[in-house]
């Protein structure tokens, strides 16, 4: 195995020439972490970013709702689930923010812990939303199993309005800050519910992941 590594690297080096200068150039790029061209639509901020984020998510067949306060989320989730006739266990990511919401004001009886195949609904919190493409960024961790983003047929993602940012590059900056530069095991960029076009190039929803993606933007996280 090591022989193959050596052979491949030796061949590359004999083609590419002396290493020192090339090493410096690569190191410089790795250190700078400089964004390349960011399109104008990825440079929006504030209200414009929020509007575009929501518009693009809807274009990608996610549904989006906005609530003024976090405590409004559980009843709105109950309403949403009733509107799509979803029934069955609702599992929350082990996120303290989610756990603190007043679920008791609804008939929902959320559970936490390991995601199961029988779960009907998963509720996660996004690290940020990317306005450029209407994309959610979710990072895995003790409070955030990535299985929850895929296994239940309905996925609900809560997002603080202040966490909507312009571009994927802005998202990377937030990720590095929030994880102290230690990349989590999984970073999921999610731009809509699961779909496939593999049968006769016609789009069908709910291929393997969630059939429904509902994003709830929380204006005030207090």
């Amino acid at each position: 195995m090591n022989d193959e590594r050596m052979a491949i690297l030796a061949r590359l080096q004999s083609t590419l020439g002396p290493r020192a200068a090339r090493e410096r150039a690569a190191e410089a790029r790795l250190k700078a972490l400089r964004p390349n061209l960011v399109p104008a639509r990825g440079q929006l901020r504030g209200e414009a970013a929020r509007a575009q984020f929501i518009r693009l998510l809807r274009e990608n067949l996610a549904s989006v709702s906005e609530v003024a306060k976090a405590e409004d989320a559980p009843p709105r989730i109950a309403d949403y689930l009733a509107s799509i006739s979803a029934q069955g266990p609702l599992r929350l990511a082990g996120n303290p923010w989610l756990a603190a919401l007043p679920w008791g004001r609804t008939d929902l009886q959320p559970v936490t812990g390991q995601v199961r195949e029988s779960d009907a609904v998963g509720v996660s919190v996004a690290l940020c939303g990317i306005a450029e493409t209407g994309t959610l960024m979710l990072a895995s961790g003790p409070d955030a199993p990535s299985g929850l983003n895929f296994l239940p047929p309905v996925h609900i993602v809560l997002l603080r309005a202040e966490d909507i940012t312009g571009s994927l590059e802005d998202g990377w900056t937030r990720l590095r800050l929030s994880t102290n530069g230690r990349t989590p095991r999984t970073v999921n960029l999610i731009s809509g519910p699961s779909r496939t076009a593999d049968i006769a190039q016609t789009m069908y929803m709910g291929a393997h992941g969630p059939k429904h993606l509902h994003v709830m933007v929380v204006a005030d996280d207090g």
């Binding site: 080096q13 090339r22 390349n36 994309t135 961790g141 999984t186 960029l189 731009s191 593999d198 190039q201």
Partner: protein
């Protein structure tokens, strides 16, 4: 159809007679082209982004050894392992050994063209490990025991009716007794069957669209979510990727993501883009216990030393084949190789040898659409032309063809003779066409005239007309 690039002409003829294949290709041609155009019109910076992405890839290729070593160090630092493999055989053996190390019986698989390149499935089966393709298109062709006919739409050649039949045949014994025809119902059957596989598989194998040197992350893009289920639930996640998939930083990956989905499916982003870094962390709620990256060379480091190195910029979006008149007539299976269309016609001779694959670089009209839509600015016609030249020089092309070319070049290098023959020949051909302006049949050109008329020369040659026009001005 033969899985042999040397059989391209016979395969293509067969495909042209296949009505199902032709109707599937017509739908693909219109769908892909229109969606790509629309998404690009919405992003004024698209061309500039492509230029940047191509430049980044050139930078990566110039520093490939350094970035690969950095990637390896980062995978190691996050608790994963990297295995370097010279060729297909070595990569297959490595993956088998990893599967056996956890006594794996079933392996779920995300879509990976490199897996097709190394022939992983038949090898695992021969060693009593069951590979289960989970991308719906790959699942369909695994049931049909066929190779992919397109790099991003593997079952693009199948009609819905054919999928109904296949599912009925295979799902009958799995508790789905009735033949279903609705698309939703077909997707639902596959969803139900594969869910259980994700949760019970011992190992998940995925490919990678990108490998990030900065973080040691591997990246996949899907619309179905199958690649995620494949890697979240089994104990071991194996990523199979070729060495040119490296990009330096997360910022650089962002640039590639902006051009990849738009070029491929006309989406602004695929539904799921997933960055996987190492095995699950201490305290993580889920994820694999082991994370392995199998890095495949398989001729790529040698290609880097040739004038064909631009091909290593390819990000496998499929735009070249989606816009290729030859691919859209012949379909992917005609190429008899893992990779098809213009990108495949360049890659296959490097993987299979030009002697076996020399027909492929000739499977192009050189209309140039592939190059014009390639987000990585790969000069595909030039690369195919080089391979044609090499095939000619190595005497791999038909002897009769070389003889005619030699005769032509002998005449063309003698302008007076050439012009005299042209002055004699043109009016003669014109008279032979008897004023109809075209031939229904012409000696030595039956390949052309069998399906269409050959236009007859009209009037004088360009050189004669040019000379006549220039003289009065002086």
């Amino acid at each position: 159809m033969q899985r042999n690039p040397a059989a391209f002409n016979a395969n293509a003829a067969e495909a042209l007679r296949n009505a199902d294949m032709q109707s599937a290709l017509r739908a693909a041609e219109q769908g892909f082209g229109a969606k790509r155009r629309k998404s690009i019109e919405r992003l004024p910076e698209f061309d500039a982004l492509c230029d940047q992405a191509a430049a980044i890839k050139d930078h990566v290729l110039d520093h490939l050894d350094v970035y690969l070593e950095r990637f390896e160090a980062q995978v190691f630092a996050t608790g994963g392992m990297v295995h370097w493999c010279e060729d297909a055989q070595s990569a297959r053996a490595k993956i088998l050994a990893l599967c056996q190390s956890v006594n794996a019986r079933t392996v779920t698989k995300g879509k990976s063209m490199v897996s097709e390149e190394i022939g992983l499935n038949p090898f695992l089966e021969a060693n009593n490990i069951r590979p289960i393709e989970t991308d719906l298109g790959e699942y369909i062709i695994q049931l049909a025991d066929e190779p992919p006919s397109h790099i991003i739409g593997p079952a693009l050649h199948k009609t819905k009716d054919q999928v109904s039949d296949l599912f009925h045949d295979h799902h009958r014994k799995l508790g789905f007794p009735h033949r279903v025809e609705e698309g939703e119902a077909l997707v639902g059957e596959a969803r139900a069957i594969l869910r259980e596989k994700y949760l019970s598989a011992d190992v998940g194998v995925t490919g990678a669209n990108f490998l990030i040197a900065e973080t040691g992350s591997t990246v996949i893009v899907t619309n179905e979510g199958n690649g995620d289920m494949t890697q979240i639930f089994p104990r071991m996640h194996i990523v199979l990727a070729s060495i040119e998939k490296i990009v330096p930083t997360l910022e650089d990956a962002a640039t590639f993501l902006r051009v990849l989905a738009r070029s491929a499916t006309g989406q602004e982003m695929s539904v799921y883009t997933t960055f996987s870094t190492g095995p699950k962390r201490k305290g993580d709620a889920d994820g694999p216990d082991q994370f392995h990256v199998v890095l495949l060379d398989n001729g790529r480091s040698r290609m880097l030393a040739t004038s064909q190195r631009e091909m290593l910029r390819c990000i496998r979006c499929g735009a070249c084949m989606n816009h290729c008149p030859v691919y859209m007539a012949a379909g992917g299976h005609a190429y008899g190789a893992t990779y098809m269309g213009p990108m495949g016609s360049v890659l296959t001779p490097h993987f299979d040898g030009l002697a076996r694959a020399q027909a492929l670089p000739f499977a192009s009209t050189f209309c140039g659409r592939c190059e014009s839509v390639c987000p990585m600015r790969i000069p595909l016609p030039r690369l195919m032309r080089e391979l044609r030249n090499t095939a000619h020089d190595a005497r791999l092309t038909p002897a009769r063809e070389r003889l005619w070319l030699r005769l032509w070049s002998w005449i063309a290098q003698r302008p007076p003779l050439y012009h005299r023959l042209a002055r004699m020949g043109l009016p003669l051909l014109g008279r032979l066409a008897r004023g109809r302006g075209r031939f229904a049949w012409l000696p030595l050109a039956s390949g052309w005239t069998r399906t269409r008329d050959f236009p007859a020369p009209q009037g004088k040659s360009f050189i004669t007309q040019w000379a006549a026009r220039r003289t009065p001005e002086k």
